[in-house]
C-alpha cells in the first residue's frame, strides 16, 4: 500500500504504484479484449505517414477535434459585456449549462446566463410560453438592466420567432414595455462562436439605434468626436480591454467600448458575489450611434455588425487581432487619424521597448517554424507577429476560417520572405493539424489548451495562446494587444523556447554541455 496520511498521493502518483499497475495490466489482459500491442504500434506509426495524411485530408463528413464552438457561446460573450445584462438563451437548457461551464473553466470566474428550458412539448408547440415565463422569472429574480436573448439550435430548427415572442411576452407583462430585450437568432449550424458574437452585438446595437424593435423612435444620429471600439470574441478580453482603455486614456481619446467584459470576468474575492459588474452602460450603447467612427479589433467577429454600423454613417475600420509592432502601429495611427489626436511619447517609448525586447531575443526565434491555430483574426495577428520576429508560421489553421480568410493569410505570407513556405488551412481541424505536424514538422505549436494532445502525440512544444485555456491560470488577465501585449506574447514564446532548450540538454555527461546558464 502506497497511500499514507503523511504523504497523500493523488492521481498523479497513486496509480503508478505496483498494486495498481498489476491490477490495470490484469484488467487489460483478461477483460478488455484489447488489440495486439504490435498492431497498435503499427497503426500508431501508420497514422504519422503521408499516406494517412492523404486519407485524413480526404475527409468530407467527419470533423475531429475542431477548433471552434457554436454561435450562442459568442452571443453570451457579447451580452455580458453590457451593464447589468443577463444573457437569455432560448431553447434547450443543457446548452446554457455548457456555455457557463466553458467560460468559467477559462476565466475562473462565474458566468451568469439563463435558459428558457424548452423540452418536448415546446418542440411540438413552440417555445412561446417558455419565453413568457422565462422573461418574467429572470426579470423578477435577477433584476437585470437588460436581458439579451439568443437561440440554441433547437429553437432555430422549430422556427421560433424571437421578435414576435418578445413582443407577446411584453404584452403579457413578463417585463415592462420599455425594458430592453435585444435579441439575435444564433443558429449553431451556421458559422461558429465568432458568428454568434457578431449577431448578438448587432442585435444589441440594432435595438438601441433602430427604435427598439418598433417600440421607440429611431435615434437621430448627431455625430460627435468619439470613437467606438469593439474587441470581438477574445479569450484575453480582461487584459486586452484594460490595455486598450489605458492606451486611449494616454492618447486623450474619447471612446466607448462596445461590449466591455473586463470587469464581469475579473471580479474581486472580497465577500461579495457580483452577478453583474462593469460593462458598457446602456446609455453609452445607445449614444454610440453618434460616434464618428467605429473600430473593430477582429474583422471576422464583426462581419455583419460593422456594415450595420457603417450604414449609420460611421467610418469603420477593422483589424485582425493585431499583435506586435506593425499591427499596433497601424492600430494607433488609425486611432490618431480618426480622432485627430497625437500619439503620445509614452506610447512611442513603449514601442521602443518592445522593439528592444525583440532585438534582444529574436535570435532564438529567427528561422524557427511554427504551427498555429485559432480563430481567424487571432491567426492573422499572431502570424504577422511571428513574421516580425523572423519566424515562419508554416501551418496556420482556422476551423472557422473561410476561403476569404485563407486568401488574406496568403497575402500576409507573401508580404514577408519568412512567409515563403507557409500555408493557411481554412475549415480544417486539429486531426488535420496532427497529420501536418508529423509529415511537415515544425519547432513549436501555438494554440489553445486542446493543443496539448498534439504536443503529447507529436512532441511539438505547445505555446498556449488562444481560447479556451483551461489548464493554465490567469493568462486572460494579461493583454496581448498594444506594445505591452506584444511583450507578453514575446515572453510567453521565449519561455517555452528556453524551457525546451533546457529540457533537451539536461542529460548529464551526454547533452548537458549545452545546458547553459546564460541564454
Amino acid at each position: 500500500m502506497t497511500q499514507s496520511a503523511e504523504n497523500v498521493l493523488d492521481h498523479f502518483e497513486l496509480f503508478r504504484g505496483p498494486e495498481y499497475q498489476s491490477m490495470l495490466a490484469n484488467k487489460r489482459e483478461l477483460f478488455e479484449n484489447r488489440r495486439d500491442p504490435a498492431e497498435v504500434e503499427r497503426v500508431r506509426e501508420w497514422a504519422k505517414t503521408a499516406e494517412y495524411q492523404e486519407k485524413n485530408f480526404a475527409r468530407e463528413a467527419l470533423t475531429i477535434n475542431p477548433a471552434k464552438a457554436c454561435q450562442p457561446l459568442g452571443a453570451v460573450f457579447a451580452a455580458v459585456g453590457f451593464e447589468g445584462t443577463l444573457p437569455f438563451v432560448h431553447g434547450s437548457q443543457g446548452c446554457v449549462a455548457y456555455y457557463r461551464s466553458h467560460f468559467s473553466r477559462h476565466f475562473k470566474e462565474p458566468t451568469s446566463c439563463v435558459s428558457s428550458s424548452m423540452t418536448e412539448d415546446a418542440a411540438v408547440f413552440g417555445g412561446l410560453n417558455n419565453m413568457i415565463d422565462g422573461l418574467a422569472n429572470t426579470y423578477s429574480m435577477y433584476k437585470p438592466k437588460m436581458i439579451a436573448v439568443s437561440t440554441t439550435c433547437m429553437a432555430e430548427v422549430i422556427g421560433d420567432d424571437l421578435n414576435a415572442f418578445i413582443k407577446t411576452a411584453k404584452e403579457k407583462g413578463s417585463v415592462p414595455e420599455a425594458f430592453d430585450v435585444p435579441f439575435a437568432h444564433t443558429p449553431a449550424f451556421v458559422g461558429s462562436h465568432v458568428t454568434g458574437y457578431d449577431n448578438a452585438l448587432k442585435g444589441i446595437l440594432e435595438h438601441f439605434w433602430d427604435g427598439k424593435a418598433g417600440t421607440a423612435p429611431k435615434v437621430e444620429r448627431q455625430p460627435n468626436g468619439k470613437i467606438n471600439f469593439i474587441g470581438g470574441f477574445d479569450g484575453y478580453t480582461v487584459g486586452n480591454i484594460r490595455e486598450i482603455k489605458r492606451i486611449f486614456d494616454l492618447m486623450g481619446v474619447e471612446y466607448t467600448i462596445l461590449g466591455d467584459n473586463s470587469d464581469v470576468w475579473d471580479t474581486p474575492t472580497d465577500g461579495e458575489f457580483r452577478m453583474y459588474d462593469g460593462g458598457t452602460t446602456l446609455e453609452d450603447a445607445a449614444a454610440a450611434v453618434h460616434a464618428k467612427a467605429t473600430l473593430s479589433m477582429q474583422e471576422y467577429c464583426t462581419e455583419k455588425t460593422l456594415p450595420f454600423i457603417a450604414g449609420h454613417g460611421h467610418e469603420t475600420v477593422s483589424f485582425n487581432h493585431p499583435v506586435g509592432v506593425a499591427g499596433t502601429d497601424r492600430f494607433l495611427m488609425e486611432v490618431a487619424r480618426l480622432t485627430g489626436t497625437e500619439i503620445p511619447d509614452a506610447l512611442a517609448r513603449e514601442r521602443g521597448r518592445l522593439v528592444d525586447a525583440i532585438a534582444d531575443s529574436s535570435s532564438h526565434i529567427h528561422g524557427k517554424k511554427f504551427a498555429l491555430y485559432g480563430d481567424p483574426d487571432l491567426c492573422l495577428g499572431l502570424a504577422a507577429f511571428l513574421l516580425e520576429l523572423g519566424a515562419e508560421p508554416t501551418h496556420v489553421l482556422a476551423t472557422n476560417g473561410s476561403k476569404g480568410w485563407a486568401a488574406k493569410m496568403q497575402e500576409l505570407f507573401d508580404s514577408s520572405p519568412f512567409g515563403k513556405n507557409c500555408k493557411a488551412y481554412p475549415g480544417r481541424d486539429l486531426w488535420h493539424m496532427r497529420s501536418l505536424l508529423f509529415t511537415e514538422p515544425v519547432d513549436y505549436l501555438i494554440g489553445n489548451t486542446y493543443g496539448k494532445y498534439l504536443e503529447r502525440d507529436t512532441g511539438t512544444p505547445l505555446i498556449r495562446i488562444g481560447f479556451p485555456i483551461f489548464d493554465r491560470h490567469h493568462h486572460h488577465r494579461y493583454p496581448v494587444w498594444g506594445y505591452q501585449g506584444g511583450l507578453n506574447v514575446l515572453v510567453r514564446i521565449l519561455d517555452k523556447i528556453f524551457d525546451t532548450f533546457d529540457a533537451n540538454t539536461n542529460i548529464p555527461s551526454k547533452s548537458d554541455y549545452s545546458f547553459d546558464i546564460i541564454r
Partner: protein, 501 residues
Amino acid sequence: MSMSETQNVAEIKARNKELINEVLQVYPEKTAKRRAKHLNVHEAGKSDCGVKSNLKSIPGVMTIRGCAYAGSKGVVWGPIKDMIHISHGPVGCGQYSWAARRNYYIGTTGIDTFVTMQFTSDFQEKDIVFGGDKKLAKIIDEIQDLFPLNNGISIQSECPIGLIGDDIEAVSKVKSKEYEGKTIVPVRCEGFRGVSQSLGHHIANDAIRDWVFDKAEGKDAPAGFEATPYDVAIIGDYNIGGDAWSSRILLEEMGLRVIAQWSGDGTLAELEATPKAKLNVLHCYRSMNYISRHMEEKYGIPWCEYNFFGPSKIAESLRKIASYFDDKIKEGAERVIAKYQALVDDVIAKYRPRLEGKTVMLFVGGLRPRHVIGAYEDLGMEVVGTGYEFGHNDDYQRTAQHYVKDGTLIYDDVTGYEFEKFVEKVQPDLVGSGIKEKYVFQKMGVPFRQMHSWDYSGPYHGYDGFAIFARDMDMAINAPVWKMAETPWKAKPKPHLMAAE
C-alpha cells in the same frame, strides 16, 4: 462560524423554513408555487425528503441542470474507451463536453482508445434542411478508414436530429451489416428530451440493452474469458480522477474478480461480458439502475448498491457485497477492512481535528448529494443542506432513510438565486457543487470544492481516495486565502446578494 453549533434542531428547522419562505418571495406567484414543492426541511423519520423531483425546470430561473445528451454522451457512453462516440449535430455540444469530465483510462488515444477526442458531424444548414443520414453514413466510413482499431461506434444525438426526422437507427443497421456486424449504436439522447441529464442516462442504458446485449447474445464469450464464482461488475463508476480504480482494487483484494467497469475505463468487451457476472455492484444508482434492473430480470443477476466514500460506508459496503458470497469473500472483506484500518486511523487523526464541527452544503448530481455525507461525518463534519440536480424520488427516499439529519435543508433542482441565498444565510464552512457554482461562492468568501470533478484532484473513492478527500477538504477550508477576503480598512460588509437588491 456555523449557526448550527449554537442552535438546537428546532431553531434550525424554524430558520430553514423561514429561509425557504424568504427565497420564494422573489418569484412571480406561479413560479413560487412550483418552486415551493422542491424546497423543504427534512423531518427525521420521514420516508423521503418531502420534495418533488424530476420535474421540468422553470424557464429563466438559472437551473444548474444539463440535458439528455450530457447524460448519455457525457456520462454513460463517453468513457467507453475503445468505441468512437459521434456527437451528431452542430459542433457545440461535443466541444463543450470534450474531455471535461476526467474519465481516466489507459490506452493510446487516437489509435485504440478515443475518450478525450471530439468526433462531430458538425451540422451545417444544409444538413438541417436535407437531413443528416447520408452524412452520418459517410462519417462511419471515414471512421473505419482512419481509425481501424476502433471496436465500435455510438451516435449521440443532439437536439436537431429528432426534430428533422433523421433515421439514425436505419443508418446504424445498414452500416453494421456492411462492416461485418460491427457494433454501431444509435442513441436518441437529443437534449430537449426529458427534464435533465437523467433521461439521457436512461436512454443510454436502454441503448446498451438493445444494441449491445441483444446483439451479443449467442456470441461466444471474449477469448480467454472463463467465468468464476466470484465475478462481479462495477456499475455506475465513471473513473473520475481514477475512482473506479481505487474501488476495483478493494473488490479484488477481498477476493472478487471484476469483469467489467461501467463505464469509466471500460470497453465494449466488458459491457458484453457483464451478463456473465454473479453480482452487479452499483455505485451511481441514478444513472445505471436501469441496466442493473434489466440484467436482474433478464439474466437473473442480483445487484447491490454500495458507497465507497469514507471508511464507515466503505466497510459497510464491503460487508454488504460480501454477504452475496461465501465465507472466503466475507473473510476477504474483513481482511481488507483490517488492512486499511491503520491508514484510516492516521487520516482521521491528522484531519479530523482541523475539520471537526465544520458544516457543508452540497448540490450535486447522481449519487453524491447523499453518498459523500458519510465521508464528511467520518471527518467530524456535518452536512446541513443538500439537493439533487436531477434526482428522482427514489434518491430522496434513500437520502432521507440513510443519510441526512433532522432539520437538513433540502433543495431540488436549486436555482442560482436560491442557492446563493441559502449559503448566504446558513453560512456553511464549505460548499460542494460544480464549476458554475464554484466562483460564485468563492467570491463570497466561502470555501468551495467541485464535487463533480473533484476539483481536478481525486480519486475520492475507496480508502486511498478517502485520504485525498480529507486532504482536499482541509486545504479548501483551512486555506489562508479565506482570511484575506475582507479588506482590512473597510467595515465588514453585510452578506450581500446583488440579485436581491
